[in-house]
Amino acid sequence: MSLTIVVCGSLVPDPLQSLIPMPTPDGFGLKNEMMLPHVLDPWAAHALYEAANLAKKVNGKVYLVSLGLKAKLQQSMMTIAQKVPFELVAVDASHSGFSDSSAVADALAAAINSIAGLDKSSLLIFGGWESASRAAGTTMQIVGEKLGIVDQFQGVDEILLNSDGSFQVLERVEGGTHQVSVCSGPPAVLGWATGNLPEPPNNPQVGMLNMRIVMPAIQQAKPATIKDQALTFHNVEVPAQRRQTKIVKDTPVPEIAREIVEWLRL
C-alpha cells in the first residue's frame, strides 16, 4: 500500500512571544507581526511528524503545504526541514490569526490541487485540528469539503493501517477518551490533536535533502490573497495575565495542587 500524505502546516508567530492584537487598516492583526519569529504551527507540526512516520512505514510520500510570507517561510524552513523528509509546496501569503478559515482553506485547497500527478485515491490530508494562530478549528474540515473528501476525522491522536488498505483512527472525545473509527481507505482528512510522537531531533542530513527542494519551492511560491469578506472582528482581547513566579524545590504534588486551586480562586 502506498500513500500520499499532504500536510497542511502554515507558519504562525512563535506562541512564546508576547502577541498583542491591534486594529490595522485591513482588520485586526498583531502588533509588530513582521518582527516576530514564526514557527510551524505546533498543531500542524504534530501532523507532520505523524505523516512522516506513516510514510516511512508504507514507503509513501509527504508534501507540506505551507502558507506564509516568503521571507518567513525561508527563515522557518531552515529549522523545519531538519525534522523529517517532505516536499514543500509554498504559498506566499499572510493570513495572520484573524483570517476567515474558509478563505485560508481556499488557498490551501488550491495549492493541493496544483500538485502535479496527485493521486486522490491514495491521498490522506493531514493538518492541525486546532491552530496556535487563534483559528476556529474549522480549516481542515473546509479544506476537505473543497477537495470533495467526505471521510473526515478531527482531534486525531492515532492512525493504524490495516493490511486490507483500511485504517483505524482514534479521535478525542469528551472525558479524555477516544472514539475508535475504521475507514475503508483513502482519501480522508485527519485533523490531528497531539498524536503520540515526540518532536524528532534535528537531522542535518534530512535538512540537506529537503533543502534541495525547499529553496526552489519558496522561490516559486505563488502569491495568494486571503480574502476576509465574510468575517469581521468587532473586538479582540487577550486574557488578563497574572504572574507571580517563585522557585520552590521538592514541593509535594498535593501541595502544588492546593496552591493552584487557591490561586484560581483569587
Binding site: 521571507a71 515526540p198 531531533p201 504572574r243 522557585i247 520552590v248
Partner: protein, 619 residues
C-alpha cells in the same frame, strides 16, 4: 555534497558530510563573511565563479551552523558608527531594518547615588557632595562625548532584528545554508590542521550518555572552518586550548551586559535616536546605556565587569535600581517590559586576540578579540572581521589556493592587521586597565589614552575574577557584620536561592516595588521577556568540571551572577544547573573563582555549546 559514508571516531558510527566552508555561529561577523562571499559565488550569467572542491562544477558549498533556535535570537542593543556595515550596504537606510534608527542625540551622564546604598569611597562621596547642588534629577549631563566614543551619524538597532534582516538576504541568494538549532560540539583536528567540525550528539542524557533515541552528531568535513561563535563560543575555546593564545595575550577582562527592551510610557520625552551612556550608579563600577528606537521602544541595560569586586554581583537587581534612578525613571515609569536578555562581552579586545588563522580555520568576530571596549563598539568591528575574511576567501578561491595557515595569514590576517580595525584596537589595548585599580584610576586611564591618542595609559595588568580578592566580608566591611553575612548566605542557600538579593537589601538597597509590567521578579522576566527554551536530548552545556572544588568555594559567584537563575545552590556546596532557565550568557564561566588542576587559566566551569536559549527577536 552529502557523502554517503560514515566515519568511525570514538567508537561511534557517525554520518559525515563534505563541504568547502563550514561556519560556526551566526552573528554579525559570520553574517558579514557570508554576505561578502555569497555576492561573488556566481558570475553574472549564473555560472559558478568560485568553484567548489567538493562538488565539481558547483560554486563553493558553504554551511553555517547556529546553536540558537533561530538566527534572530541574539542579545545586544547596538549603537554603532556602522562604517563597516555601510561598506557592505552603501545604500542602507534605517527603514530597511525594524527598530533601526539614526543616532540624533548622544549624552554621557554621571549618576549620583540617590539611594545612599552605593559603595563609594570617601573621596567619591566628597566629590558627589560638590556636584549635588548643580545636579538635576541626581545627575550631571556631560557637555560633550569624548573623541571617538561618540557615534554621531551612526545607527542604533536591535541585533535580533539586524540578524533577521541580513540573514534573510543571505538565504534568499540560495547559495548559503544557515542551520539554526544546531550546536557544534568540537573542531575536528588532524594534528594542527582543523579539518571541520562535529555537531552535537542528540538523544543523550544530561551528561551526554546515549539514550534510546541516540543520534550521533554529524561530522562536517570542511576545507575551511570559520569560527564566529562569539566571546564564550565552545569551538573558539577548544581552538585556544589546542593552540594556546599568542605570547602576552590573555583573556581576563570580561563583563556581562544585561538588557531590556522597554516600551516607553506615553509621558516619556525621549526621542527616537537618543543615546545615553551612564556611569556612577548603581555602583561606580557599573556602566549603563539607553538607546531609543522608533515607536517608543528603548534598549537599556547595564554592564557588570569582571573587575567589580562584589561577590553579590546580581545584574538583575542592579539593573532594576539603575532603571529607577530619578534621571531615568522619569522616562521609564509606566513602561512595559518587551524583552530581556544578557550576554558576556570579551573586553580584553586586542589583548585577548587569539590565533586568528591556521591550517583550515580562521577566527572572526568578538571571539577573535575584535571588540573595542574603549570606543564602546563591537558589532561594526565584528562585521569588519567578516568582510576581511570574506575578501581573503574570495582571493584564495579565485587563485585556487588552499586555505592553509600561510595563505590565510598572508591574506586575512595581514589585511586585518593593516586595517583601521587594528589601528583603533592598538589605541584601545589596555586603555581601560586603570579600572582594575578603581573607578577614578580607570577614568584617568581613559582620559590619558584619549588625549594622547593611545600613547599614554595607566599600566596595570588585567586580572581575571579568579585572580582578584573577591569576598563578601571585604566588600561589605563596615556595613554588614561578618556573622550576619554568613547567616544570610546560609539561609539563602538553604532556600535554594542566591544570597545577593538579601545581602543588597541588608546593605540598604530598597525593595523593588514590583508592578508586574516593568518591575518584576527575575523569574517573571525570564518568562515575560523572552521565554527560555531547552530542547530535550542534548547534554547539559554548563558543567562543573571538578565538583570537589565547588565544595570548598566560599563565594559561589556562578550562582550570584547567573543571569537566568539557572545555577542554584545544591547539595554539599556543589551548584545545580537547570538549563531550562539558561539564557546562554556564559558569565558563569569567567566568574568562576576556582581554576582547574593543571591549568591555572581555565576555570572549573566548562561552558559548552547547547541548544535553545532565549526566544526573543527584539533584543
Amino acid at each position: 555534497m552529502i557523502a554517503e559514508r560514515e566515519t568511525s571516531m570514538d567508537d561511534v558510527q557517525r554520518q559525515a558530510m563534505d563541504v568547502d566552508i563550514a561556519c560556526v555561529g551566526f552573528g554579525p561577523a559570520t553574517a558579514a563573511f557570508l554576505t561578502t562571499v555569497s555576492r561573488e559565488l556566481l558570475n553574472e550569467d549564473g555560472t559558478p565563479k568560485l568553484l567548489s572542491q567538493k562538488m565539481p562544477g558547483m560554486p563553493l558549498q558553504i554551511m553555517c551552523y547556529e546553536r540558537a533556535d533561530d538566527i534572530s535570537f541574539g542579545v545586544s542593543g547596538v549603537v554603532t558608527k556602522a562604517k563597516a556595515i555601510r561598506q557592505s550596504f552603501p545604500d542602507l537606510t534605517v527603514e530597511d531594518i525594524s527598530m533601526a534608527q539614526e543616532i540624533k542625540k548622544e549624552k554621557m551622564v554621571y549618576l549620583l547615588d540617590p539611594v545612599g546604598a552605593s559603595r563609594r569611597s570617601t573621596v567619591h562621596n566628597f566629590l558627589d557632595s560638590l556636584l549635588k547642588p548643580v545636579a538635576k534629577n541626581h545627575a550631571i549631563e556631560s557637555p560633550f562625548i569624548p573623541g571617538g566614543m561618540n557615534k554621531h551619524g551612526g545607527l542604533l538597532f536591535s541585533i535580533g532584528q539586524f540578524n533577521q534582516w541580513v540573514g534573510a538576504q543571505i538565504m534568499s541568494s540560495g547559495l548559503v545554508q544557515l542551520w539554526p538549532g544546531t550546536p557544534v560540539n568540537a573542531p575536528l583536528f588532524d594534528g594542527d590542521k582543523v579539518t571541520g567540525i562535529r555537531l552535537s550528539d542528540q538523544g543523550v542524557d544530561l551528561r551526554g550518555n546515549p539514550e534510546a533515541a541516540f543520534m550521533p552528531g554529524m561530522d562536517i568535513h570542511a576545507d575551511l572552518t570559520v569560527v564566529g561563535d562569539g566571546p564564550v563560543g565552545y569551538i573558539g575555546q577548544q581552538l585556544d586550548e589546542h593552540f594556546g593564545l599568542p605570547e602576552d595575550h590573555e583573556q581576563k577582562d570580561w563583563a556581562v551586559g544585561m538588557k531590556m527592551v522597554v516600551e516607553l510610557p506615553e509621558q516619556s520625552t525621549l526621542e527616537a535616536g537618543t543615546v545615553l551612556h551612564t556611569l556612577g550608579f548603581p555602583e561606580p563600577e557599573i556602566f549603563g546605556f539607553l538607546y531609543v528606537h522608533p515607536d517608543r521602544l528603548a534598549s537599556l541595560g547595564i554592564f557588570i565587569p569582571s573587575w567589580f569586586d562584589n561577590p553579590a554581583r546580581t545584574s538583575y537587581r542592579y539593573l532594576q535600581h539603575w532603571m529607577m534612578h530619578p534621571y531615568l525613571w522619569k522616562d521609564l515609569q509606566g513602561g512595559t517590559l518587551k524583552s530581556w536578555g544578557a550576554k558576556s562581552l570579551q573586553e580584553s579586545g586586542k589583548h585577548g586576540e587569539p590565533l586568528l588563522a591556521g591550517d583550515g580555520f580562521a577566527r572572526i568576530g568578538e571571539g577573535s578579540g575584535s571588540t573595542n571596549i574603549f570606543l564602546n563598539s563591537g558589532v561594526d568591528e565584528a562585521w569588519m572581521t567578516g568582510i576581511l575574511l570574506g575578501k581573503a576567501v574570495i582571493t584564495l578561491a579565485t587563485e585556487q589556493k588552499p586555505f592553509s595557515k600561510d595563505n590565510l595569514q598572508a591574506t586575512y590576517v595581514k589585511k586585518r592587521h593593516d586595517s583601521w580595525l587594528e589601528r583603533e584596537a592598538q589605541i584601545a589595548a589596555g586603555a581601560r586597565n586603570g579600572f582594575q585599580r578603581g573607578f577614578f584610576t580607570g577614568l584617568l586611564g581613559m582620559g590619558l589614552t584619549m588625549l594622547s591618542g593611545g600613547i599614554f595609559k595607566v599600566k596595570t595588568p588585567a586580572k581575571a575574577a579568579y585572580e582578584r580578592s573577591v569576598n563578601l566580608i571585604d566588600f561589605y566591611k563596615g556595613r554588614i557584620p561578618e556573622a550576619e553575612i554568613k547567616k544570610i548566605q546560609q539561609e539563602s542557600y538553604a532556600k535554594g536561592i542566591a544570597a545577593s538579593d538579601a545581602l543588597m537589601t541588608r546593605a540598604g538597597w530598597p525593595d523593588i516595588p514590583y508592578d508586574g509590567q516593568l518591575l518584576m521578579t527575575h523569574q517573571d522576566a525570564l518568562f515575560s521577556g523572552g521565554k527560555v527554551q531547552a530542547a530535550a536530548g542534548y547534554k547539559d552545556h554548563v558543567v562543573f568540571l571538578f565538583p570537589y572544588l565547588c565544595e570548598t568555594c566560599e563565594n559561589k559567584l556562578c550562582i550570584e551572577i547567573c543571569s537566568g537563575q539557572a545555577i542554584t545552590p545544591g547539595e554539599n556546596g556543589i551548584p545545580e544547573f537547570d538549563r531550562e532557565k539558561c539564557i546562554h550568557c556564559g558569565a558563569c564561566m569567567w566568574n568562576c573563582v576556582k581554576t582547574i588542576p593543571g591549568d591555572p587559566t581555565k576555570t572549573n566551569i566548562s561552558f559548552q555549546a547547547g541548544s535553545g536559549g532565549l526566544h526573543s527577536v527584539e533584543n
